[in-house]
Symmetry: C2
Subunit: 332 residues, 2 copies
Amino acid sequence: MAVPTQKPSSPHQKLERIVILGLPSFLKRQDKEFSSKFQFLSPSESNLPLEQFLEAEAQNTQAAVCSGGFKISAEVLRHLPSLRLIVTLSAGLNHIDLSECRKRGISVANAGNIFSADVADLAVGMIIDVMRKISAGNRFVKTGLWPKQGNFPLGSKLGGKQVGIVGLGSIGVEVAKRLEAFGCKISYYSRKKKPFSSYSFHSNIHELALASDILVICCALTEQTRHMINREVLLALGKEGLIVNVARGAIIDEKELVQCLVQQEIAGAGLDVFEHEPHVPRELFGLDNVVLSPHSAALTEGVFRNSNELVTENLEAFFSNRPLLSPVLDDE
Amino acid sequence: MAVPTQKPSSPHQKLERIVILGLPSFLKRQDKEFSSKFQFLSPSESNLPLEQFLEAEAQNTQAAVCSGGFKISAEVLRHLPSLRLIVTLSAGLNHIDLSECRKRGISVANAGNIFSADVADLAVGMIIDVMRKISAGNRFVKTGLWPKQGNFPLGSKLGGKQVGIVGLGSIGVEVAKRLEAFGCKISYYSRKKKPFSSYSFHSNIHELALASDILVICCALTEQTRHMINREVLLALGKEGLIVNVARGAIIDEKELVQCLVQQEIAGAGLDVFEHEPHVPRELFGLDNVVLSPHSAALTEGVFRNSNELVTENLEAFFSNRPLLSPVLDDE
């Protein structure tokens, strides 16, 4: 029996319309099942400027999917009057005007915990890399210096080090769990003491830095945490101190960080995120004690599949009036 | 009251004479206490060839301290007829002719477990580095490619990976403990099943490689383990497989490893040790999926202090007829 090889074209009027903001490659990665459930409106595939596109095409659209790089301002929201849901593919929410969303009754879902383990892996990898000079040693060997120069500088021991976790959310917990296995001692800073944790708590970031050999930044970027790691905190971390950032660049005052690294006021850094990505301060390029990474902490082979699944599940839950899978919680 | 600022010179005839083999910088690192207990004979500070020096100076010497790079052959031992103890600063013993030592009744002490945690840290650091492309990403950012090229290739997820530990000694156990915290599944190969371990045991290296995403070489180099990781084992590890070596270069057939890496028959490698150190096959220099390190797994800031303490304690134990602190055990 002959089987039709082509599906009948889906009746568009029955599909929910979803606006895709800032994800030009997102649609290409969709599997057939996903595309058969929703109709996607993509301003990036239109010749119209964003706001004209939204006014022309998206006035009745109830849901949007966005990347972490797309700024969802009050102005953008004004052009989406029917919007009731934003699903962001990022864990961070600093690109979304959350107070405007609250005002307009728009729900927001994020990537939840799906990146946490991978982000923690990169954080720990960067700590070991800087302390044990892995990238620098790799360069030393690959440029043929070993037979010529002999000794390579000693690295630092990880065991016994005091690690301060800034933000004990799902990423911070994963970082701590891994570093405990290396014999590190964990303490943390957050707005409130976490009842589930037995790690030593500091309510003051300056005190945490004073008590730490290594600071790992794992918190959300908010108005409260912007430039929270300032010159004073870096000086409290001190000449032997190492800082690792897998959260958002602007949590650290980048200008002061560069100054501290160049003047050896702290010992080193592992940075996956920056204030003005993809632009990275050139002063860091020549420093062996600084390991830089192109905001790739969450990017491993299965990430798009996992993240698309979560987006689908959040959209389906929304349109069938079930609770979202990864709603943004106000209490972090 | 005037206090004499200089100690009276020690009466040399009362000090035990220790021959130092292959450690030109060892004596300089000694603290005063150490030097006041022993008299060191250092062929590297003499103009005589080694064997003439030993015949002239070391005929009554009962103890020797050596580095891992100094070959203690039957021939060297023949020139040290009174020798009863060798203390090596290395964990590995492949530079010492152990069967000749047994024949001559010479005890051997090594570095015991003092390097295990640091070596395991580097092994795990190299695994994360290769899988998450840390060194490659660092180069990508530091050469200014991020703003020009945008996307950086995805890394591999560590969680859920099958890790095969080759040699579950003190280093292997530390590697396993760390990788469990990353959600890896551990199995191991050794000559005998370890009664203390619940990890899955393979009595055949080929089977371990077949079952593993990552092989970590942590065993001693012996006649049995030389080139144990041959082409067949590498092909069993396979195109997606990663190999990390923090043990000794010659456990892997380096020529075959280079071939497999160049032809992408395995996915990547992290290598701290090589067959002909400090010479490293140049074919590896251009490969982003290979991270090289100048035999520095044990080299962290406190290493010389810790290792000198252990040497002193072994020498003191020997000369006062107490058991050695880190004797070499025949059963690994």
